[in-house]
């Protein structure tokens, strides 16, 4: 009996290998490695419908996608890499995993500060990491800049996400590029001095602000938009800091064509489609992110929050200084 089971298992395992060999993508398919984890992506579906090219998506975290791409090397089945943070795209490009794409459409649709200077990756959607406040407890004129959150008046009233998460690492990285490490260190020390409550999730942070556990926090705009869309009386609103200075810190969710893509032409077509007004509008509507294409209007809910000055630092800085940002956080005790 056990021998039979053994043979059955061996046969099953061998069939897996055969399946793997047979699973190479055909000409009318694209394989996307993506760390976006939305259950539905209307923009992807629209591309498939318009061009007849089927899209297959493989989800994992950014670091894992990176390791996989690197280990697979020239035999990677992936055509496109999509990540949720510029730092990860920067890292992939640095390791030679992404190919440069010379496309007039992409250059026209995506502003220069939201794409790689060497055209290896392109931002598709934008999210702002901004100050959020409880509308019942805080008035907008009490807020001004990111640095001002370190003011003693916010002691015990500030909620922050932990510094292990990439959103805050990118924020610090952008600050380091703008202001240099010593100034950034001072700013973060200020935050730490207010004894912030550390919560490991933007949605939880927003709920904490609404419930009164803290009065101000830093969060990504799309999380807030989601909560406000569900309940318009949610007592938290965004504040756009540093409008006299550098502007609001933004990050991107972006895409690049892999260096050894088997369907390079289709992959470029896919990226161009994602940057086109049709797809950008779909992104804006579905996930409450800002479209990277400046000619496309954001979701009405976001538009209600007004226009704001965006930091036009090239977002590659988020990757370039991410390691330094993590170390800085360690040094000043920002957990």
């Amino acid at each position: 009996m056990s021998a039979r089971v053994g043979w059955l298992i061996a046969a099953g395992l061998l069939s897996q290998v055969a399946l793997a060999a047979a699973a190479a993508t055909e000409a009318t398919e694209l394989l996307i490695y993506s760390s976006r984890h939305y259950p539905q992506e209307p923009a992807f579906d629209a591309f498939a419908k318009k061009t007849g090219i089927a899209l297959k998506t493989f989800n994992a975290t950014d670091a894992e996608l990176f390791e996989r791409l690197r280990a697979e090397g020239e035999r990677t089945p992936a055509d496109v890499l999509i990540t949720v943070d510029a730092g990860n795209l920067w890292n992939a490009a640095r390791a030679g995993l992404l190919a440069a794409v010379d496309s007039r459409d992409l250059a026209a649709n995506i502003p220069a500060h939201l794409r790689d200077p060497q055209n290896r990756w392109f931002g598709m959607t934008v999210r702002a990491r901004t100050i959020v406040y409880n509308t019942k407890k805080v008035k907008p004129d009490e807020l001004s800049t990111y640095a001002a959150l370190g003011d003693p008046r916010w002691k015990g009233r500030l909620c922050l996400r932990t510094s292990t998460h990439v959103y805050n690492q990118s924020l610090l990285a952008a600050m380091i590029k703008r202001y240099g490490e010593p100034t950034t260190e001072e700013i973060v020390r200020g935050w730490v001095a207010t004894q912030p409550i550390l919560i490991n999730g933007d949605t939880k942070i927003l709920e904490a602000v609404a419930a009164g556990q803290c009065d101000v926090a830093l969060a990504n705009t799309y999380y807030l938009a989601r909560l406000v869309a569900k309940d318009p009386s949610f007592p938290v609103r965004p504040f756009w800091p540093d409008q006299e200075g550098a502007g609001v810190h933004v990050n991107i969710s972006g895409a690049g064509v892999t260096a050894h893509a088997r369907h390079r032409a289709e992959a470029i077509r896919f990226l161009e489609f994602l940057s086109s007004p049709d797809a950008q509008a779909l992104f804006a509507e579905a996930s409450f992110e800002f479209p990277a294409n400046p000619h496309v209007a954001p979701h009405p809910l976001l538009a209600k929050w007004g226009t704001f000055k965006m930091d036009d630092l090239n977002i590659a800085a988020a990757g370039e200084f991410q390691a330094a940002a993590t170390r800085l956080a360690d040094r000043v005790g920002y957990k």
Partner: protein, 568 residues
């Protein structure tokens, strides 16, 4: 070195060597070496230290990381030991209302993934959760309770999830103790408690310590819970360095430190066994009846069991059910749910069988010949349990990918076909990673079961002409049946819950329930994550029920006696 060697010394005569015990030893050494490969790679990474990262860690947090990790281990170790052993003793020795139910129900928390418990409890008990919101409605908005997001919170969570390891093993050990041993102790003057402490506990020690070691290694390897609670342990630092500083090499080196801690754990476990013998002269005596509790004591026993069950299982599952009903009403079942379930089930089943077979091979080879080579090789191979799944996954990915390139180049030259990545593109890499990660679970359980088989059984088999293989098939395996089923079931549940290695190594298209949970929790879609999470729990209940049945006395096939009347 380990109990086999000690047993040999104590019994006076060496284990009878069969002609082909060297075959067993070589096979064991070979498979242990292959399984230990990724773990070795982690240790090997220390040969090129990333000095600047280490200097940075030393300056900023290394000490705190080690202290936090140590505190977690001590807390979880003691917690599961006390809770697991206490509950097992209660349920085996006494009769009280609801005992039958609790006997099996107390294992249920094993089916819950630790990362699910974490976010469920935070959701319930956090500032914004229903409990505190309700309390604030009564006592005023200024009410501030101690934060669950701390070392104690994590320790409590992990104790609640991992105590079933000790509970299962302790219960089996207690059930298999010959009642005469205890009765003799009572006759010779020990009080009930004294007999428990001085006779029962030491006899059950290998099982207790094995369970504790498993729980501690799981605690070491866990990332989901510590990340949710914001508690800085070594594993959290591994991820921080890997994802945040883009430095996989330094992260691997931190994992090597983790290995060192695991190694210390194992040394402690070995040392605690000492040179004692743990077999008993007869495995089943006549049953003695359980002690009936009355009145206050009965109520207390029932109360304790009910409280643990409620907190560790009832509350989380209840919350999941609430979310599931809401999500199902709104969206229906997630797309491809049947496929997810099937994938989870078959991956778990195949891993359980392979892990069980491997554990038997290694355990039996050790029993035949506790050579100086095989013992450390096997112990080392079992350390995969202490490593985070993602680290093992990378350790498996790199050599397999290299092998894939070699194979593909060869096939291209020989047959002109473009095969792509064969091993990492199939489930084989993933299954291998599961083996590396979960060998400890099956091995410790099987080994605990093997040590209970007296040596003279082996000698008797030899004298009757059976070689090593035949006596394994006809003597040891039937006696080990419970342990084997238990080991397979534990691995099954663990693989169903596994997430990080699956995320990295799965071939495209092979998604599991755990992946579905991750996709949703990563986007803070807690309610939506409840459907696959509950499916994992429900699917895990079947093997959990199996683990329970392995504690029920079956016919004693070794002595071919008529089945003794069941104790229960």
């Amino acid at each position: 070195m380990g109990s086999p060697a000690a047993t040999v010394a104590a019994s006076g005569s060496p284990t009878p060597r069969s002609r082909r015990s060297w075959l067993w030893t070589t096979a064991a050494l070979g498979t242990a070496a292959v399984v230990a490969g990724p773990i070795l790679a982690v240790g090997w990474s220390l040969t090129a230290p990333a000095w600047d990262i280490w200097a940075h860690l030393w300056r900023t947090q290394l000490l705190q990381l080690l202290l936090n990790t140590g505190q977690l281990l001590v807390g979880v170790g003691l917690g599961v030991l006390v809770l697991g052993t206490g509950l097992a003793w209660l349920v085996v020795t006494y009769e009280f209302p609801g005992r039958r139910l609790f006997e099996w129900a107390l294992i249920l928390p094993l089916a819950l993934p630790a990362y699910v418990i974490g976010f469920v409890f935070l959701g319930l008990l956090d500032f914004t959760g229903p409990l505190q919101t309700g309390l604030r409605a009564v006592f005023g908005p200024g009410l501030r309770l101690p934060d669950l997001r701390s070392g104690w919170g994590v320790t409590l969570m992990m104790t609640l999830v991992f105590y079933p390891y000790v509970y299962t093993l302790a219960r089996t050990a207690l059930l298999e103790q010959a009642p005469e041993t205890l009765e003799s102790a009572r006759c010779l003057g020990r009080t009930r408690v004294g007999a428990f402490v001085n006779v029962t506990l030491p006899l059950a020690r290998p099982s207790l310590v094995a369970g504790m070691t498993l729980a501690c290694m799981e605690a070491l390897a866990d990332f989901g819970t510590v990340a949710t609670f914001g508690y800085r342990t070594l594993t959290e630092a591994i991820y921080r360095v890997w994802h945040g500083m883009f430095d996989r090499l330094a992260a691997t080196q931190l994992a090597a430190v983790l290995l060192g801690v695991a190694f210390l754990l194992i040394l402690v476990e070995r040392a605690s066994r000492g040179r004692a013998r743990f077999t008993q002269s007869r495995r089943h005596g006549h049953p003695s009846s359980a002690i009936l509790l009355r009145g206050f004591r009965a109520a207390a026993a029932t109360g304790v069991c009910a409280a643990v069950l409620l907190v560790a299982f009832g509350l989380p599952v209840g919350q999941l059910l609430v979310w599931v009903i809401g999500t199902l009403r709104r969206d229906g079942l997630p797309e491809g749910f049947g496929g997810l379930l099937l994938n989870s089930l078959w991956l778990a089943a195949v891993s359980a069988v392979c892990a069980g077979a491997l554990a038997v091979l290694l355990g039996y080879a050790l029993r035949l010949e506790p050579s100086r080579l095989v013992v450390p090789a096997v112990r080392f191979a079992a350390m995969g349990y202490a490593l985070p799944g993602a680290v093992i996954a990378v350790g498996v990915l790199l050599p397999l990918a290299w092998l894939d390139h070699v194979l593909a180049r060869g096939l291209e030259r020989a047959l002109g076909i473009d095969a792509g990545m064969l091993l990492t593109g199939s489930a084989l890499g993933l299954l291998f990673a599961y083996l590396v990660r979960f060998l400890a679970v099956s091995f410790y359980t099987v080994e605990a079961s093997l040590t209970r088989i007296p040596r003279n059984f082996d000698e008797a088999a030899r004298s009757l002409g059976a070689g090593a293989g035949r006596s394994l098939r006809e003597v040891h395996l039937p006696l080990m049946r419970r342990g084997l089923l238990g080991a397979g079931a534990l691995v099954f549940v663990d693989v169903m819950k596994e997430m990080p290695a699956t995320l990295l190594l799965r071939p495209f298209g092979l998604n599991t329930l755990a992946i579905a949970v991750w996709q949703r929790t990563a986007e803070s879609l807690w309610q939506e994550a409840a459907v696959p999470a509950l499916a994992i729990v429900v699917a895990g209940l079947v093997p959990v029920a199996l683990i329970l049945r392995t504690g029920v006395p079956l016919a004693d096939s070794a002595t071919r006696e008529a089945p003794t009347p069941a104790r229960r």
